[in-house]
């Protein structure tokens, strides 16, 4: 009988339960996604040149585990607060508390088990989908990666089963110990704002000091990569603490300040919004700090991932000046060239005898030869041109690589036209093309390079054109880039669902407030605007702090990455678009719950 009642209770709160289930499923899906990378040793070893990768991933597991525990604990509180009134009522009507505590134990554990099962299945699908997308979007080569990975699956199960076991025990104990009356009345007691000026001031100072320490240690890691093992834990602890105190003190102070400005606060629903926020911020400080840290990690991971991508460009451009090189092109190849966006096209003729290769000096006078260079210390590439390659080793090296493998070892001679004509050997023509951008013409360049290999099979393992360099370097950096993107997206999904979950779970309490505002004559439009503003602030506080964390945190990569801040707008844009998506979904769902 009681069981039946409890089940019917679930039916009535189907919306709350679906929020709860989807939240938990997302958590286990993301956990699996992460584990599928982190526990896959052969993937890590074959795709990363750095020995630090294993360490970073180990650290990532710890971090994600902590976040997941916090998250599930929070979801569990949500469950308990949802059910305690009903269970309280059963107890008032005479149900034994041992029976009730057994029921909540079973309910908690069943919810956990079901959502973990579905969640990991979703995780396998999502892993496959995300990895395919990243690989194709970024033209990567990733080895030893599989979306279904048994050790990851097992560790996800074990982890979640243990957490839910604890949650279930906690819930049943808490119900057994509570008095019936507190269970019945618990949520009618709103939290009061604690206005302790001195404490807030201390927190503000402490927050800033901690943040400064964290940023400093990241900068120091950038200068001395060896510091990483101590530096990262220090940065993590100080930044987490700093973020918490900063949000708790500054944001509250800012709201109080706005409230005191009666011109602003006594206008329309501003005061209502501010009060909603100041109550929320107190309650939200923990989750907002967590989200801003996650935001930073996710954004940082994608930024660094893309940083490796920039590296590819830079290194490739340091290998070859010309994007395409052809030997005696036939009509088909000439036709393919038309598909390129050509900036410069040089044509050189040469003749070969047993020991030497002969070029015409005049051809270089007319069309100076470009050559590329890379400084292996600074990782900065340079491109230059010369009209007289005979005295320039870099230019000679570049020219050498435009010939067939068997002619690269010969001595190069630059001769005048008469001497050239006098040599009794067939003329070979080399066509060198530089496009407006290697990246933008990549597809065409690839097909030309492939066709060239078909015409000259010797090039298969000895290709010296830019495309061959690109494939090699791309393969090297792709693994790193893939990890960055994968981590970034996993963290983003985790953080945004945390925030969304938290905001939505407060929506039920707001129904009455908004209904009252409507009754005393607030236009729907104004109510909507208020909701947008409120959720907007809750989303932007962690975003702003997160962006600051990333901008300063990138100092860590000063020595590892070439220009860590280059093209930074790209990851930021990707990130902000995804994050905005979550904002719009949250605000839509929230309005659906609150406004009728």
């Amino acid at each position: 009988m009681l069981n039946k009642l409890a089940l019917s209770g679930i039916k009535h709160r189907i919306r709350d339960y679906s929020v709860l289930f989807s939240g938990l499923m997302i958590a286990s899906a993301i956990f699996y996604m992460f584990m599928s990378l982190a526990t896959n040793k052969s993937f890590l070893n074959s795709n990363s040149p750095a020995s630090a990768t294993s360490f970073i991933f180990g650290f990532g597991i710890v971090l994600l585990a902590i976040i997941t525990i916090v998250y599930i604990n929070y979801a569990n509180t949500f469950l308990l607060s949802m059910r305690q009134k009903e269970y309280g009522m059963f107890m008032m009507l005479g149900a034994k508390s041992s029976k009730i505590s057994r029921m909540i134990f079973i309910e908690t554990f069943a919810i956990g088990a079901i959502s973990t099962l579905i969640g990991t299945a979703l995780g396998i699908l999502a892993t496959g989908f995300v990895s395919k997308w990243i690989i194709s979007a970024l033209d990567m080569q990733v080895k030893h990666f599989n979306s279904f990975y048994l050790p990851a699956l097992l560790s996800t199960f074990v982890f979640f089963v243990v957490i839910f076991m604890f949650s279930a025990i906690k819930n049943s104990m808490s119900l057994r110990r509570s008095k019936v009356l507190t269970l019945l009345n618990r949520d009618s007691q709103p939290v009061k704002i604690k206005r302790n000026g001195v404490l807030k001031a201390v927190q503000a100072v402490l927050g800033l000091v901690l943040l400064a320490l964290g940023y400093l240690s990241m900068w120091y890691i950038g200068q001395n990569p060896g510091f990483i093992m101590i530096g990262i834990p220090i940065a993590l602890v100080t930044i987490v603490g700093g973020t918490y105190f900063t949000i708790n003190s500054f944001v509250t102070a800012f709201i109080v300040m706005l409230k005191h400005n009666t011109k602003y606060s006594q206008k329309g629903l501003n005061n209502f919004t501010l009060s909603q926020l100041s109550f929320r911020i107190n309650d939200y400080t923990k989750i907002l700090s967590m989200v801003s840290i996650m935001f930073a990690l996710a954004l940082g991971a994608i930024t660094v991932g893309l940083g490796f991508n920039n590296q590819i460009d830079n290194v490739v451009n340091g290998q070859n000046y010309y994007d395409v090189q052809l030997t005696n092109p036939d009509a088909a190849q000439q036709k393919r060239l038309k598909g390129l966006n050509i900036e410069k096209k040089n044509i050189y003729n040469f003749k070969v005898d047993k020991t030497n290769v002969y070029y015409k000096t005049s051809e270089f006078k007319k069309q100076p030869l470009g050559y590329a260079q890379i400084d292996t210390k600074t990782m900065i590439s340079k491109q230059q041109i010369t009209a007289d390659p005979s005295k320039n080793d870099n230019a000679k090296f570049e020219l050498m690589n435009t010939r067939m493998p068997d002619q690269r070892g010969k001595v190069v001679k630059f001769v005048n036209t008469q001497e050239f004509n006098a040599i009794n050997a067939p003329t070979t023509t080399t066509v060198l093309v530089k496009t407006n951008s290697f990246k933008n013409n990549l597809a065409e360049i690839k097909s030309i390079s492939k066709a060239e290999v078909k015409r000259y099979p010797v090039l298969k393992n000895a290709g010296a054109d830019k495309y061959s360099a690109y494939t090699m370097i791309n393969g090297f950096f792709s693994g790193l880039e893939f990890m960055g993107f994968f981590l970034g997206i996993a963290f983003l999904a985790m953080l945004a669902s945390c925030l969304m979950f938290k905001i939505l779970s407060g929506a039920n309490g707001d129904v009455k407030r908004y209904n009252m505002l409507y009754k005393i004559g607030t236009q729907q439009k104004v109510l909507r605007a208020t909701i947008n503003k409120e959720i907007g602030v809750l989303f932007s506080v962690p975003a702003i702090l997160g962006i600051v964390h990333v901008l300063l945190g990138l100092q860590m990569f000063n020595k590892i990455l070439y220009k860590p801040y280059a093209n930074i707008e790209i990851p930021f844009a990707i990130f902000i678009v995804l994050y905005l998506g979550y904002y719009f979904v949250t605000r839509y769902l929230y309005k659906k719950i609150v406004l009728k």
Binding site: P190, T262, Q266, N270, S275, Y518, K519, I520, G521
Partner: protein, 250 residues
């Protein structure tokens, strides 16, 4: 004399055509004059809340005409209804309906802020009404720190602060003990006399009803009887109400 409320032939049917329908109000007619204090009484389920919701533009009648302060409210669009409520109507609810994250002062100021009154004009208006209702000491408290009676007086102040044409109350004393109920009714009567504010209350409680000038009895969605106070004392009127309730209930 102009009427504040003029209700003509209203009818309310719940449920869409084709579904199960229920007639909650049928052919209701009455009026409220400026400065009148009118009560509405009736058994549970007789249609009191339905009537009040229609008068306050929260719901629309199936047919009929309602004019408030000279305006036909059944013709208003959604936004106009909201504006109308915020300008012309004051509300007191049974369960207070204060926003618990705003202080008493902020709760009272809300209707004025909604009308975008300048901050300078808001303060004197809030102080003025708070003084009349004896709330000046507790303006900085949050609703959770107030007693039920205090909460309801804050709600009354909020209903009155923007000087509405009429104040509606749906069992405003319903959640109060008899002493607080009496204090609230005394205050409302005072405001009604001194400031000439029209008030329309729904109540179950004969004692609260005895403060009214006139009482409309509603039964099964129809107004059945009207009882005027005229120059009876409140005690006499109270007895009369009890008598009518007895006969009316049969």
């Amino acid at each position: 004399m102009q009427k504040i409320v003029d209700v003509q032939n209203i009818e309310k049917i719940y449920g869409k055509a084709g579904e199960k329908q229920f007639k909650a109000l049928s052919d209701v007619n009455f009026e409220v004059k400026p400065g009148e204090f009118v009560g509405i009484m009736g058994a549970s389920g007789s249609g009191k809340t339905t009537l009040l919701n229609i008068l306050s533009t929260l719901d629309t009648p199936t047919s009929g005409r309602v004019e408030i302060a000279g305006q036909d409210i059944t013709k208003l669009k959604n936004n106009e209804m909201a504006d109308f409520r915020s300008n012309k109507i004051g509300f007191i609810f049974q369960d207070f309906n204060l926003l618990e994250n705003l202080t008493a002062y902020e709760n009272i100021a809300l209707p004025l802020a909604l009308q975008n009154k300048p901050a300078k004009a808001i303060k004197p208006a809030v102080m003025n009404i708070s003084e009349k209702l004896g709330l000046t000491e507790i303006l900085n408290h949050y609703p959770t720190e107030l007693s039920g009676g205090q909460k309801q007086r804050v709600a009354a102040a909020r209903a009155l602060v923007h000087e509405p044409s009429i104040v509606f109350g749906d069992e405003p004393t319903g959640a109060l003990d008899s002493k607080s109920a009496r204090a609230l009714m005394d205050t409302l009567t005072k405001i009604n006399r001194e400031d000439n504010v029209s008030i329309l209350l729904v109540t179950h409680d004969p004692f609260s009803a005895s403060f009214c000038d006139r009482i409309l009895f509603i039964k099964d969605g129809e107004i059945g009887q009207e009882l005027k106070k005229e120059d009876h004392s409140r005690a006499e009127y109270y007895q009369e109400i009890l008598d009518s309730l007895g006969t009316f209930a049969e």
